[in-house]
Symmetry: C2
Subunit: 479 residues, 2 copies
């Protein structure tokens, strides 16, 4: 059974198209024997294989070199093998008792990642979390506990009204899902105020951050936390980390760096200077499932101050964390986490690291950024396209408009904007129907819908990029 | 490469021992070529295979029929195949665009699970979450939003001081990881007060709950939420759901049922009456990765009120949730979640359901509970053991002491208790060294360390249970 599946999956890896799109109602009505229904009696083995085949057939090949839709893409064969072994081991990360090797692997990975961030060997702690939002959430809990440990016993009522700061662009980037809840919505969770700081091309302006902090203090708020982003979701922008660290030093604020997307660049000698100053952060979010091509999910929160995670989240449930166990119970990391039970997300990264070496990850990152430069060069050359920014991309994000023939002679203004806004969604719709390539689009601030291309799959070649541009031109020629 | 791994993994499934224990320092120093180090240059393929083999060798076989240590155990071959396909597809649950089939599978599963809970076909919503703690967290956020939607715009400051209720046993059960943070620690997250209600053998006493509610009101708190547990972690106790629902009706409280562990019993015609009244809950946590043997992780939060999840958590990030997409965007469920990005946890459950049918899950649950009854019968017969409760187990948890020869003639009292308290940890230590079987222990309230055996692996046979008891007797004979 498993062997047959192996070949089914392998076949899938070689699929020619990125997707075979069907609307929800089409898939729900059933296609060629594919049915979502859950039976009372078992199905045959034959039918199960059809179910597997169809699930892959009607899904999206995120590993396809022409899938440019998401920050996570590619399909690393060693990473997949790692994930397969993980599911076979089928265990939980809460205690050394049931996860001896995986907990040590987590420790080794976190130590290595902290040293790459630039922290001293004897500093730091961390955890792998179910995604970047939860990693970011940890950083806020830690910052609050660091300044106000009484929160654990006396609650938020004992604290002043806290304020946290981030770039206005974060409202449309990765952090949003935390931001919105933790900050914008008057803090559903954490009861702090949020302050957005103005930025330029997605980067925080340090002087504007200073002003925001002063204004918050005037309002009677107590600033405690700044989130700097290393690689925003849409523009791939890097906040000026050293300038922000200076401000955090001056005001004694917790500096968190959300490097979920940009963290991968630390692996490249050529690009890691874009994160200069990250070593001054108190905590860092870094998602190897993005730029490093590790299968989903793989996200780490790194913390500079050792022991803080344990102190902040410790509880000591007797049924799991007995202190009279026959081994060093400091490896029972479940008590550091807010979830307790955690999926094993570390083995695939560890195995990939063994297979590629740090150097291999570096080359992979370089390749992705070269692809972004190639696309940028092509866009400059071709008159059918317009770049959202004239500058060379810092990360692998490249943002651009396709200008269909009917709009090329129109003067800039509301009419052109209104019509241009409709171009990307219409091309995207046709692209999905055709299934040959996939790319994302969005509006941002005053900018109407534009395409955002991202590269995180080292299998992508220049010919795939040429194909993308030609395909957009072809699909949009009549618009 | 993948093919070789396949056989490595397959070999692992047939391992004779439950574990091959080594202390952290032993594994860190390296054993027979096993090294945790992360290299700069790639390792050879041969070495990678050694890494894989050793990771499995020094790990714990949670799928072994003699692994009784955790609520999640077993290794369903179809479930593993489902997980392998999932990692090959390597996608994210946030939008229909990148997860068309998996989102429809999630919808089908949630609908089926809600109908099994007993809700009407046109009612309800839900999500698969990274573990039961996060599922429970959702229920509290939803309850708060349901009663106080202004929390989203005006924050907790606009709300009265809220109180939530649960059984005192929850402090040592599954909910603890939420409880502690959401309730006990004066609510790190949610700023509500918690109230524990006295219980008998792990079950809430309805009259005590009434008293707790009245006391909270006298203190000026506003009760809003009751957590009832269906299957506590240690005793496997079921709260009286109908009586609790009556109280919730009287006081207009949100009733949540944490059926993370007990939910599986809904699949069995013989045992589902233990959850009678669950259909009256406003929300339910149900972890198929526990009693139903689905590989980790697989946990669902089910919500009776349709639309509430979306309203409560909606944000509308433009870069993901464009409203001008060419398909029905109500399938973009990322906006319902607090994490946005979610691992695909549904396919393995769906495939197992197809392979077994609902009836197959029912038989599997029956088998596990028969094993518990068999163990209970054996413990009654054998004089070396003492049951923690005389009553027949309701779930598959069986709690007992082993009384070594030296303690058998001692009268009950502090001296016997002190010595008995040390028995289970010492046997457990020897058990781990030997590696032939694994079972958990803990103290609870005034009860000194006792063993808790749980059955969730349908591969366990009566001879494995006999083996467990004989092994405990042998390992503890000299204590």
């Amino acid at each position: 059974m498993l062997l047959i599946l192996f070949f089914t999956f392998h076949f899938y890896l070689l699929a020619k198209n990125v997707l075979d799109f069907h609307h929800p109602h089409q898939l729900k009505e059933g296609l060629e024997g594919f049915s979502l229904d859950l039976p009372v009696q078992p199905e045959t083995l034959e039918q199960l294989l059809v179910d597997c085949r169809d699930t892959l057939k009607y899904g999206v090949s995120t590993g396809h070199p022409r899938f440019f839709n998401q920050l996570s893409s590619g399909l690393d064969v060693i990473g997949v093998a790692g994930e397969w072994l993980t599911s076979t081991a089928n265990t939980n990360m809460f205690t050394y008792e049931v996860s001896p090797v995986f907990l040590l692997i987590e420790e080794a990975l976190l130590k290595k990642m902290r040293s790459i961030v630039g922290w001293a060997d004897d500093e730091g702690d961390g955890l792998f979390c179910p995604g970047g939002t939860i990693s970011n959430l940890y950083s806020i809990l830690l910052a609050r506990y660091h300044f106000y440990p009484e929160v654990k016993t006396r609650g938020m009522g004992a604290l002043p009204r806290l304020a946290m700061f981030t770039s206005e662009h974060v409202i449309i980037t990765h952090l949003i899902f935390m931001c919105y809840r933790l900050m914008k919505g008057n803090s559903t969770f954490l009861f702090t105020e949020h302050v957005y700081t103005f930025c330029l091309r997605g980067k925080i302006i340090p002087a504007a951050l200073e002003t925001s902090i002063a204004t918050a203090k005037e309002k009677g708020l107590v600033p405690f936390y700044v989130n700097a982003t290393a690689g925003t979701t849409v523009y791939g922008a890097f906040d000026p980390l050293n300038a922000i660290a200076d401000i955090c030093d001056t005001h004694t604020l917790w500096m968190h760096v959300d490097a979920a997307w940009g963290g991968g660049l630390l692996m490249s000698d050529r690009h890691r200077m874009k994160l200069e100053g990250i070593e001054r952060a108190c905590s860092v979010t870094w998602n190897p499932h993005k730029m490093m091509g590790v299968p989903l999910q793989c996200s780490a929160i790194l913390v500079k101050k050792r022991g803080l995670l344990q102190e902040c989240n410790k509880l000591g449930a007797q049924y799991l964390f007995q202190t009279d166990k026959p081994y060093d119970v400091s490896y029972d990391t479940g008590d550091k986490s807010i979830q307790c039970g955690r999926h094993v997300d570390v083995f695939k990264l560890w195995l990939m690291w063994k297979a590629k070496g740090s150097d291999g990850f570096g080359s992979q990152v370089n390749k992705c950024l070269e692809n972004a430069e190639y696309l940028y060069d092509q866009l400059q050359k071709r008159t059918e396209f317009e770049l959202v920014f004239k500058n060379k991309p810092e990360h692998s994000n490249v943002c651009f408009w396709y200008i269909p023939p009917s709009l090329r002679s129109l003067p800039p203004g509301p009419d052109r904007d209104r019509r241009l806004h409709q171009v990307a969604p219409r091309i995207k719709g046709r692209m999905m129907e055709k299934g040959s390539v996939l790319i994302g689009y969005q509006p941002l601030g005053t900018k109407v819908n534009f395409f955002r291309c991202v590269f995180s799959n080292p299998a992508t070649q220049q010919e795939d990029i040429d194909f993308l541009l030609d395909e957009i031109c072809q699909l949009g020629a009549d618009l």
